[in-house]
Symmetry: C2
Subunit: 476 residues, 2 copies
């Protein structure tokens, strides 16, 4: 226990009395709790730079009054006083109720969680401790501003092999979450006051950053096969944020023809494309389509990746690939900024990638999520039949359901009373829209096969029964 009383020689009260009063008040106010060991007289004398006598006299007085207790060969302790009054200062009122799962929720289709059963926890722990072993000095220094080289190297390799993105480690910036990436881009490209386009609906986390960075947002409507490039062409946008591998939250994949059109738009207008490939690893049907970045020949695409879906949201690690000229600009503009991702995490992830565990994990998870996804679709078909239709069923860790004959808020309410939590994706729309009220969003990444089946079964019992039960074509 260290204490830091404030003693002032200039005050009329003697130093020993100041010390006595201070300690007594600490004990009375519950800041020094019974059973706490006090610093020794020698220690306190040295720390406070006062005479030994000052401390000794104060301690004696406090012992005499029962505030402190001296135990031979053990030291001086705060004594049990009659009414212990331990309390923290009251806040105006409780500010944030700590998150706790309501006990009644049996199945929670929250989006954002990932699978916990198949995670190679041992290997990850080994990487964490191995990372700390490897060398000594980096642990005690500020790391590389754009991120640890070993990690950027592994990411470059990974992107090339599995996403067709060619980049050198020097083009990669490590960031602490996709929002950080977007914020950096806004500053790098001076987007304050400029128009930035986004798919409508689109990811709120990113839209919030654009807004806070002073961008004017231009929502681009979706067609059945992704954003309307025509609308983009007349938008005057300087940049567009897109989710081509798996539109968020609708789930369609942007076809190659549209990708080419999008690139043309960028080439012709000197626009920038921010390609958020947040869950591109999890694609269950159809052919892979090359990333926009891999098709880009003029350095207009900035590729954004994250470990939140394919690895762990608690890594809080994301990255972007910048064209070399923009990276140079970044190194100038952000010369005085420190990297904000812990090099410990960075090196552990690099280790995890290098060992081959990362690719193995992704392969395993793709299969596993595919099964979950399959169970989800089958359960919906079996229990919900024509009372819903599924939107965006080829990939990712969530789907949307369009309800026939019931509003989303009604189903959310009924589901909750039956222990199943589902969500409205309404907040992902910038503009009001009639369709929103009949759509719910189901995330399934963190649920077991049983939970998915059970959740859908219960949810189906909350849907209206009155629709004629048709056989209809199977959903897939």
């Amino acid at each position: 226990m260290e204490i830091s009383p404030f003693l002032n020689k200039e005050l009329p009260e003697s130093l020993y009395m100041q010390l006595y009063h201070w300690i007594r008040k600490e004990i009375e106010d519950g800041r020094l709790m019974p059973g706490t060991k006090m610093p020794s007289i020698r220690e306190l004398t040295a720390n406070l730079n006062v005479s030994r006598n000052t401390v000794e006299t104060a301690y004696q007085q406090l012992q005499a009054e029962g505030y402190l207790e001296s135990i031979p060969k053990s030291g001086v302790w705060v004594a049990e006083i009659e009414k212990p009054v331990w309390h923290l200062p009251p806040t105006e009122h409780p500010i944030i109720p700590e998150k706790q799962a309501s006990p009644k929720v049996a199945v929670d289709f929250e989006y954002g969680n990932v699978d916990l059963d198949k995670f190679p926890i041992k290997q990850w722990k080994k990487c964490l401790t191995d990372a700390i072993d490897q060398q000594n000095n980096w642990l005690f220094q500020y790391g590389n501003k754009i991120g640890e080289f070993s990690l950027r190297k592994e990411i470059a390799h990974y992107l090339q092999q599995s996403r067709g993105v060619r980049a050198t480690p020097e083009q990669i910036l490590i960031t602490a979450g996709t929002q950080t990436s977007i914020s950096v881009l806004c500053r790098l490209l001076s987007l304050n006051g400029e128009t930035v386009a986004m798919e409508e609906p689109g990811y709120l986390g990113v839209r919030t950053v654009f807004k806070d960075e002073g961008c004017h947002l231009k929502p681009i409507p979706l067609e059945h096969d992704g954003l309307s490039v025509k609308h983009l062409q007349t938008s005057m946008a300087k940049a567009i944020y897109v989710t081509p591998s798996h539109q968020f939250p609708y789930g369609m994949v942007l076809p190659v023809a549209k990708r080419i059109q999008l690139l043309k738009w960028a080439y012709q207008t000197n626009g920038y494309i921010f390609e958020d490939d947040y869950d591109g690893e999890f694609r269950y049907r159809g052919q892979p389509i090359p990333s926009l970045k891999s098709l880009d020949e003029e350095g207009r695409v900035i590729y954004l990746g994250t470990l939140s879906k394919c690895f762990l949201p608690t890594a809080r690690l994301s990255y972007m690939v910048l064209p070399p000229s923009l990276m140079e600009l970044l190194l100038q503009k952000f010369a005085e900024y420190n990297q904000s991702v812990s090099p410990i995490i960075q090196r552990a992830v690099a280790q995890f990638m290098k060992s081959g565990e990362f690719e193995k994990h992704i392969r395993r998870m793709r299969k596993w999520y595919q099964r979950k996804h399959q169970v989800l679709l089958t359960s919906i078909q079996q229990y919900m039949d024509t009372r819903v239709s599924i939107i965006g069923e080829k990939s990712g860790l969530h789907i949307l359901l369009k309800l026939n004959g019931m509003t989303a808020s009604k189903l959310i309410e009924r589901g909750l009373s039956h222990g199943v939590k589902v969500y409205s994706p309404a907040r992902f729309w910038l503009l009001p829209n009639d369709e929103i009220e009949s759509i719910i969003m189901l995330g399934f990444g963190g649920l077991s096969l049983e939970e998915i089946e059970q959740g859908i079964r219960i949810l189906a019992s909350c849907l209206p029964k009155d629709l004629e039960k048709k056989g209809g074509p199977p959903l897939r």
Copy 2:
């Protein structure tokens, strides 16, 4: 190895030829390297959603031409071709030379490093792995937006015990470095376009953030005992950033009288005080002085802390204590922002604090840095005598030296040619100033006692010899 060729049924070329050409090009361009194992025919068929025949024919062709090699019971491998042409795409030119210590530097007085000998590396590793054990689910979810509760609780306790700051965990925001704290404050208090005061000289890392957030900076000159409150009073500033425990980089401690004046300024003008207590733990002489926050009765002080000095810069973990009303505003304004520090690091640090290791570490380091500091001062006195004077010698992990009869840049240059690196603190001044050119900065946190002594000895030999060697009063 996964590969992601792009095949298109609409193209005139057959799918197998497309696949053949794609793989061949990957090998020729060095993206698929000799010795790489190819996906099996079965795997690739499934991944690409094409017929088995397509893949088989392409593989056969490539084997026939020597690009691939089939090894029975092992699989299909990329063969050694005659001229391996492995190359990454050329960047325009090398962008960032990876940091490497120049081999000639024997002693580097860089500021920012911390001690590596006495760090309890085993305990820290244990905390990292234990943190991951504790419970399961948090690892797979986005964490608490303001930071993990367990960490905020430990920090609240620590601040109360050792810095006299009373705060509930609900008032604490975890951030990924002091710059992040400052950026959040600028947005929270809408400081864009407002005047913000800073000590002159002051910490460049923070000044850069204020600038980038659109603040007008008002430099407040220093007096021998810290910032000139008079200048602040006429500054029209809405907020001031200060380093009262240990002025950065000058090193003086703000006396209580000035602290009280500073608080009065805040109360009278509704100003805010950002108190950066970055190395308040390391105080070697004189009495502790209460933090501004502990004296603040009207919620005008925002206390900023970091683990970069008292623990590890690679934790990339800092925090601030906000008055409850500001915390509420923050929860509204930043409702859509994710926490950017990895909960893994947060929980490991919480564990480290809870186990008592943290306080033990700080106590140990305070003694150890005090010894280093002592050796530094003694060496300077012994070898450099009156050719320099020391500025700010009571605490912290650095000092300044004022040179008599030589410019800083000359000494930096001479030192370097003798293998000793020292730095100019010039960048910490906002405005030009004659004094700057005769001051150097010595960080000693990461150096051993021997290195400190050796470094100063060598540096002294670079100073001009022509001054009369006086005995003079000892420096302490």
